[in-house]
């Protein structure tokens, strides 16, 4: 069973999964983490993927982002079909077209904040767009801490650096995996507002995996996942609407 999601005009699709399945093990012990999932994410929007533990939301994100491969089906970043790419090509694609923010351990401890922000660019031996990078740094307001190592930054500051790194290459799409999961509510709120601004003001595309209704309410659209299937979706969410939907989903 697959529930079709909102139709988006192809030119506006930043990333999509097409009948994506991810199966672990085989025979008796077979686990279907993703079962024939088709979903698209719109360019210039802030999308969220929600679902309980084990629903497949992280797996979906990893597969679309080119960190993991599918058992069946296809994923696209923009127009590019990831299934036909070599490890080297996928790496290059992640470096240039995808940004990442993880829940924790986002930064390289031996590099300072600025070096961490420009890391994907440096790996590609490119200088990047200086003005853009400065604009990003200004937005996260960490100008005075750029030469600090991650161990000298607070958890919230570290996540801000991580978001800045994800933005630095001006990627097609940014994936954020529970970016506020390890933060107190104040710092978490800052990060979410900052991501919201990146979408609204800087015209970026973000897909965020979360299980928190408040976090999800910052998004333009939420895709709900359950047992490896798309269970539904919601546009213009509020925390109340999301909680209500989740209650309904649990029944």
């Amino acid at each position: 069973m697959s529930q079709t999601t909102q139709k988006i005009d192809p030119p506006n699709i930043a990333a999509r999964a097409d009948s994506a399945s991810k199966i672990y093990g085989n025979g008796e012990s077979e686990v279907r983490a993703l079962d024939n999932v088709s979903v698209s994410f719109e360019r210039g929007k802030f999308s969220a993927i929600m679902g309980p533990s084990g629903s497949g939301k992280s797996t979906l994100m990893h597969c679309i982002a080119g960190l993991d491969s599918l058992t069946k089906g296809k994923v696209f970043i923009g127009e590019t079909d990831l299934s036909g790419l070599s490890d080297k090509e996928i790496t290059k694609l992640r470096r240039e077209k995808v940004g990442f923010v993880f829940q924790s351990f986002n930064l390289i401890p031996t590099l300072n904040a600025h070096e961490n922000i420009t890391l994907p660019l440096s790996l590609g031996k490119s200088k990047g767009d200086k003005d853009w990078i400065q604009q990003v740094i200004d937005t996260i307001s960490l100008n005075d801490r750029l030469d600090h190592r991650p161990s000298e930054l607070s958890g919230g500051q570290q996540q801000r650096v991580a978001v800045a790194r994800a933005l630095a290459t001006r990627p097609e799409i940014i994936f954020a995996d529970e970016p506020t999961g390890n933060l107190d509510s104040k710092s978490g709120g800052d990060i979410l507002k900052f991501m919201r601004r990146a979408v609204t003001d800087l015209k970026q595309t973000i897909v965020m995996v979360t299980h928190d209704a408040v976090s999800a309410s910052y998004a333009d659209r939420i895709v709900f996942l359950s047992d490896g299937h798309v269970a539904g979706e919601m546009t213009n969410p509020t925390p109340e609407k999301v909680l209500d939907y989740l209650k309904h989903l649990g029944e």
């Binding site: 992280s58 990893h62 960190l67 993991d68 490890d87 080297k88 790496t91 290059k92 992640r94 470096r95 240039e96 990442f100 993880f102 829940q103 924790s104 351990f105 986002n106 930064l107 390289i108 401890p109 031996t110 590099l111 070096e115 890391l119 994907p120 440096s122 790996l123 590609g124 031996k125 161990s151 790194r165």
Partner: protein, 842 residues
């Protein structure tokens, strides 16, 4: 708790494997050298037990000089045989001889190598007391017949009826081969070659007519060996200066003399096996430190659920015990193979040592396993104590991997050690003993190793700078990774440091010695050609041949120089013997007082420093005892600058002696107007007829002599090779553990766009920087050590330090290559890091 730690140890096969690898390598060299030494010793034990198996009593001269490598003894007159035969209880007696004789092969070259097993001439007799039995043909009779031992006959493809040329004291002669002999049960003792003659021929050709080395006696069974020896002793006239030993005594004495020589050698090998073991210790300690840090959470969890500090500490020590035992046992087994490799190495550089079979003593097993286990446990003590101190709360925190260490105390201790070492070194430069020198070197080494963690960060950052510039952010991360944990980097680099320092020091030392040899020969040798043999103090160029060359029309003058054991005052040195009449303008002793050409028969020359030490001046008297039994009060006739020896005799002293006299080298000056070709042809005619010796021009000769140092250096390099392997493995282990530890970091880097080849580059350069840190520090330390040793041993013959620039560059290049090689597997592992599991393991 014991069972728990046993389970925990065995469940981590990777860690177990890495730790054991370090122990296996460390102990295998120890086991290898022990087995090798045991095998040599038992080979000689068996040999001499075999050789003297049928000998009940042994008569020899009481005149001897102890050379430090066994006695040199005067010959005995064959006339004593009659007296011995007259003793009741003697059933057979025969003269025995083991003198220098060299068989010349059919192609005109001497059989066996210059550096190979000794070449002997001996007596073959029908007497049942003799050591040789006829295997084929018959015993030689008269001055034109001989036998060969079976192995030599086979090697030279000689058959009965062939004519064989043999070189000995009285020159080179041709004999007819009439028989093939066996020595006890073996075809040839220890690979030595034997040419056998009847007694009168042997005495006349090899030694001096009427003399033999000793007598072998067989009893008729009525007396015990002790009673027989006593009876013979009683029968020998008191003024004959002969003594009688039992068969057991002579076996024991011969074996123990050989063992003194072997002892030096095995002690040398053992020293290197302990260097390898020490280097292994660093690796083991490093592995335990890193794994203890990595399992901080596990230790904390144990503490949180109620384990005491002691229990946590003990659990790690139990792991060390298990790994130590397993590693040492495997190390012992690998050592068996290594002992064969050692044998091959010695053969390869021309130091052939006969070994038969393989001797594995229980002592060797016990020693290897107990030392291996002990050092493993010792290496684990500090990390074990540290993990006992982990607070239970650490179980719920992120592991603190990059702890900032306080280095103040370390720097203080390191500096104190270095200063103490430096003081000792300065003292030794000013004449303190070699022990002080050794302690000084040890102190500086220890100090540098203690200081290591304080040095590793700045030096790694410096070495990494060009890498960061060339390789961008990847290189910068290599640089940072090499510097991020200074203690770990220092411990990983320590084996490289020690290895490189030793290699550099020995290389510098060798270069200096070579230079010294060139200068010494250059200033003393004034001729055009040199004829030399490398016979290691046994045999050489008969002096009669030297005189023959001197008489050639093409030759203006030729003079020979030889060495002989003697007791001089309270010392037993090898004394230089030269011909004062012919040495003028050819062999210059660089006299400081007296005149070289005026040396009389009973006068002696003394090296200048030795003369100062012994307070000897021209005109002083010096008591000298020669191997042939003569005791002479000699007069000091002059002092000379350092040369091959501390004392010099005139050749005249041995004119009527029973001691065989050989020259080790002959210096030749050609007559005016004779060109190179005709000079070589004329001299070669004699030397090739002789079958031995190498004729070289002055320059060639100097090159060859200096190159002899290379053989020693090759041995040292070979022995240090295993230490290099351990150093490489040490880097591999550390890198593997670091890669494992930085799994999330690598996963993150891969996620944000680092390609696999960039990951490889990152790990490779970290490895190279670490290795180079060790090498650079080691080179500096090695050169300083070399300088100090050369300068402080100045009196013993060194005068200048030579820096081997090219070799030093090769060593640094080697360290670079080591870094690259060591990184191959860890880098591959790093590229296999699963991104998802790395970033998901929050």
């Amino acid at each position: 708790m014991f069972r728990l730690s046993l389970k925990m140890t065995l469940s981590r096969r990777g860690r177990l494997l890495l730790t054991s690898l370090a122990i296996i390598l460390g102990t295998s060299f120890l086991s290898g050298t022990t087995i090798f030494s045991d095998t040599i010793n038992s080979t000689f034990d068996r040999l001499f037990t075999d050789v003297f198996r049928d000998v009940d009593a042994y008569v020899r001269s009481t005149d001897s000089v102890d050379t430090g490598f066994g006695d040199q003894r005067a010959p005995s007159p064959i006339s004593a045989l009659e007296t011995i035969f007259g003793v009741e209880g003697v059933s057979a007696a025969v003269g025995d001889m083991q003198s220098y004789a060299r068989v010349i092969n059919k192609d005109g070259k001497p059989l066996g190598e210059d550096q190979g097993p000794p070449t002997f001439g001996g007596i073959a007799s029908e007497s049942s007391a003799g050591l040789w039995s006829v295997e084929d043909g018959r015993l030689p009779v008269g001055p034109e017949e001989m036998m060969l031992d079976r192995e030599t006959a086979e090697k030279g493809k000689f058959e009965i009826g062939d004519s064989v040329r043999v070189n000995a004291l009285s020159g080179t002669r041709e004999f007819t081969l009439v028989g093939i002999a066996n020595y006890g049960d073996v075809s040839s003792p220890g690979g030595a070659t034997f040419a056998l003659f009847d007694q009168p021929t042997a005495s006349e050709f090899l030694l001096k007519p009427g003399f033999v080395d000793a007598f072998l006696i067989k009893g008729d069974g009525t007396l015990s060996d002790e009673e027989l020896a006593e009876a013979i002793d009683a029968a020998l006239p008191a003024d004959a200066k002969l003594e009688t030993l039992t068969g057991a005594e002579i076996t024991e004495e011969t074996t123990s003399q050989i063992k003194i020589v072997l002892g030096f050698f095995t002690a040398f090998l053992t020293a290197f096996s302990f260097i390898a073991l020490g280097i292994g210790c660093f690796v083991i300690y490093n592995v335990f430190s890193i794994t203890a840090a990595q399992r901080q959470r596990e230790s904390a969890l144990l503490r949180a659920i109620g384990a005491s500090r002691r229990q946590v500490t003990v659990s790690l020590l139990v792991e060390a015990l298990i790994v130590g035992l397993i590693g040492s046992v495997i190390g012992f087994i690998t050592g068996i193979g290594l002992s064969q490799a050692l044998s091959a190495l010695l053969n390869a550089i021309g130091l052939e040592i006969p070994t038969k079979g393989l001797t594995i003593n229980t002592d060797a097993i016990v020693q290897t396993v107990s030392i291996g286990t002990l050092i493993t446990i010792l290496s684990a003590i500090l990390p074990a104590l540290r993990s006992g101190r982990v607070p239970p709360l650490a179980a719920f925190q992120d592991t603190a991997l990059d702890t900032v260490q306080k280095l103040t105390r370390r720097v203080a201790i390191g500096l104190v050690l270095i200063i103490a070492g430096a003081v000792a070194l300065i003292a030794s430069i000013n004449g303190a003993s070699v022990t002080i020198l050794g302690l000084g070197v040890l102190g500086v080494f220890a100090g540098v190793l203690v200081l290591g963690p304080a040095l590793s960060k700045p030096i790694a950052m410096l070495l990494g700078k060009p890498v960061a510039m060339l390789r961008g952010v990847t290189g910068a991360m290599s640089q940072q990774n090499a510097a991020r944990n200074p203690k770990r980097t220092a411990r990983t680099a320590a084996p490289v440091l020690i290895g490189v320092a030793l290699v550099t020091a020995f290389t510098a030392l060798a270069a200096s010695v070579k230079n010294e040899i060139r200068e010494t020969i250059g200033s003393s040798f004034r001729g055009d050609y040199a004829l030399s043999v490398n016979s290691r103090g046994f045999g050489g160029i008969p002096v009669s041949v030297t005189d023959q060359i001197d008489q050639l029309n093409e030759v203006d003058q030729a003079t020979g120089v030889g060495f002989i054991a003697a007791k001089v005052g309270d010392e037993s040195p090898f004394v230089l013997v030269f011909n004062p009449k012919t040495s003028k303008d050819l062999y210059d002793l660089e006299m400081l007082s007296g005149k070289q050409s005026d040396l009389k028969k009973t006068e002696i020359l003394v090296e200048a420093d030795k003369a100062d030490e012994k307070n000897l001046k021209v005109g002083s008297s010096l008591q000298v005892t020669l191997v042939d039994g003569r005791s002479i009060l000699m007069t000091v006739a002059g002092t000379f600058k350092d040369a091959y020896g501390n004392y010099a005799f005139s050749r005249e002293l041995f004119e009527d002696s029973t001691s065989p006299l050989f020259d080790s080298f002959v210096y030749i000056k050609v007559a005016e107007g004779v060109n190179d070709e005709s000079a070589r042809t004329a001299i070669s005619a004699i030397s090739s007829d002789l079958g031995i010796g190498t004729l070289e021009s002055r320059d060639e000769y100097i090159d060859t002599q200096a190159a002899q140092v290379d053989q020693f250096l090759a041995l040292i390099y070979g022995l240090l090779f295993l230490s290099v392997i351990i150093a490489i493995v040490g880097i591999i282990i550390t890198l593997l553990l670091s890669v494992f530890e930085r799994k999330r970091e690598i996963g993150l880097l891969r996620a944000v766009g680092m390609t696999r080849s960039q990951v490889r580059t990152m790990v490779r350069w970290e490895s190279v920087i670490t290795s180079l840190f060790g090498a650079v520090t080691g080179v500096v330390l090695g050169i300083l050590t070399g300088i100090v040793i050369v300068v402080s041993l100045n009196e013993s013959g060194f005068s200048a330090f030579t820096l081997p620039i090219v070799n030093t560059l090769y060593i640094l290049l080697g360290a670079f290559v080591i870094g690259v090689i060591a990184a191959v597997f860890p880098a591959w592992r790093a590229t296999r890091t699963e991104i998802i599991s790395a970033i998901a393991s929050a």
